[in-house]
Symmetry: C2
């Protein structure tokens, strides 16, 4: 029988960070696509729209007027999924009907005063200001809440309802599901092997090289061995860092620069403003922040849906929802495609 080749032969891979499996069937990229094509991008976005509640000087749903901010701007989400004062549902009356209290806050962070830019089109110092705001909101909300989830939904395809460059921050009184899974995995790896899972994983990827996308003095970007989304990446500091606020000034500058490169490659892949959801994971905060979290390594996940072109995405549907995640090209192929792309944005370079 034939020798195994991962780009030819389907197989399953294990995600040791989130305790999940993915089915990799690279040969499937050959199938024709007759399904849904995404609507084309919205018409050009104006730089300033006084009716857009995210713009400087605009009035928000609650009547507040935004300052004429010129860097980042953080404010309370007017329609928060988490509020600080929800009452407790009380004890459950049956083990199959368990509900628990959830408290928290939801904030919105604008990255820039202009609506017509995105992170890869911003300057490195402007992105560095975003990094600093991420670190300080983690510190601020982490003083009270055990989990501070920073995430960005970019593009209408990812449910983003406003084109102004921004992210969200949802802090909660509970450790969310994915955080719990990463906590369990990193804790158990550390107690078995005496070092953080993601530190050993980074070391291995630097040796193996086949899934690296970008490296810099302080950071790595790679397509994880267990990636589910076609061009999913993992962004990691080289040093052992548990949370965003611990990053040194040099690490923050370097992060801004590697983010600009990664997001430029993403936009260049299909010459479109590449949609994705991304978010940061670091050690839990709140009243247990002082406990031993040495098994945690700070990281960001990028989950972009596009598969074949600017308008044909991967659907995570039937089999994926009912059985197991499935992907159509190997993580190594995805890394190779991202690696060779230019680091100059297609909108800026001369063609």
């Amino acid at each position: 029988s034939a020798a195994f080749r991962s780009s030819e032969h389907q197989h399953i891979r294990y995600n040791p960070l989130q305790d999940e499996w993915v089915l990799v069937s690279a040969h499937r990229m050959k199938r024709p696509w007759q399904g849904q094509v995404e609507p084309p991008l919205l018409k050009t976005v104006p730089r300033h729209d006084p009716l857009n509640p995210l713009c400087p000087g605009a009035t928000r749903a609650n009547g507040e007027v935004n300052p004429h901010y010129d860097g980042t701007f953080l404010f309370d989400n007017d329609f928060p999924a988490l509020q600080p004062d929800a009452p407790d549902p009380g004890p459950s009356d049956h083990p199959l009907f368990r509900a628990e209290a959830a408290r928290g806050v939801c904030k919105v962070m604008c990255f820039h005063p202009w609506s017509d830019v995105t992170l890869p089109l911003m300057s490195v110092p402007e992105i560095r200001a975003v990094v600093d705001s991420w670190a300080s909101v983690t510190e601020e909300l982490g003083a009270q809440y055990p989990w501070v989830q920073i995430f960005e939904n970019k593009g209408a395809m990812m449910g983003c309802s406003n084109p102004h460059p921004h992210c969200q921050v949802w802090a909660s009184s509970f450790l969310p599901d994915v955080a719990q899974r990463e906590e369990r995995s990193q804790q158990s790896y550390h107690s078995q092997h005496g070092e953080p899972l993601l530190i050993e994983y980074s070391r291995q990827e630097l040796l193996r090289k086949e899934r690296l996308v970008l490296t810099s003095e302080h950071w790595l970007v790679l397509v994880p061995f267990w990636a589910v989304w076609p061009f999913q990446t993992l962004l990691l500091p080289r040093r052992h860092v548990r949370r965003l606020p611990e990053l040194t000034p040099a690490e923050r500058d370097d992060l801004a620069s590697i983010m600009k490169k990664l997001l430029t490659k993403y936009d260049n892949l299909f010459e479109t403003s590449f949609p994705y959801s991304m978010g940061w994971h670091g050690a839990p905060t709140g009243s247990a922040a002082g406990a031993n979290w040495d098994h945690w390594q700070l990281h960001a996940h990028y989950y972009p849906p596009l598969l074949r072109s600017a308008t044909v995405r991967k659907f995570m549907v039937g089999y994926e929802m009912l059985a197991q995640a499935q992907r159509d090209l190997t993580p190594e192929q995805a890394a190779e495609r991202l690696r060779v792309l230019p680091e100059v944005h297609y909108c800026l370079g001369q063609k």
Copy 2:
């Protein structure tokens, strides 16, 4: 402080079947929606299109010609994610880089010779033929494979690439992720409480009534306490049944009838052909089929994405991908809305 009301106050709920949590924030339905609106439904589908590879008499990608079938029709997927003969990747060289062999088959099952019908527009005897085909394909592929996943992606929004009414069947040499989770939960509940988790759960829902959508002599449809998708439902036999082939003729007829009612309600909710992914879960099969699987109860999950209208869906993005599932109306509110809808399809009733 205010008394807890689940329709007013956010809280988290636990899914004991899949060991996951969901954040329920019903007050969030009040927020305005400015995001993506789905493209309108495809133009009318012709009843017969000789170029559609799913139609009777059409030629498929591999050159085979479909028979002039007049009921259901099962054939091999021409672009299968699982093939019966993939070589083994061999032992992993590192605990963080685990790959394993995956073998299987992917089939497509047409529900009806016409392209312009969907299950709710088919007659009960025609749907009964689909139920029989589901049972026999489970039996056939289950003789060899430990897991036979039947699933339907309905609608372009769910990545369905062909409007002809059909489902897929992917059988695998491994127990997929979700199956493993349901196996663990049902096994542990049974060993603790001496009866199947879903049998006790059904009994409780019949008593509590607030999440029931439909009941019949042999079946129940309810919005589970831990539902993630806005109008997600769970379809269960009243009797303890481990797998589809065990269903009696009376249970099969009754299943066809309750499915027609449920899917008619779904279409009536927003007067559209309601998109969803659905699939069946039953006890594992293959060489271990003879083991004790008494902790398993057969069930189908329906995961429909629409939230507010025929064109505004729930996006499972940023927070959901990075942290935890979140929903905007309570399961009780969803059940109530489905319950009061007519059982006559909006395309058929006189208005």
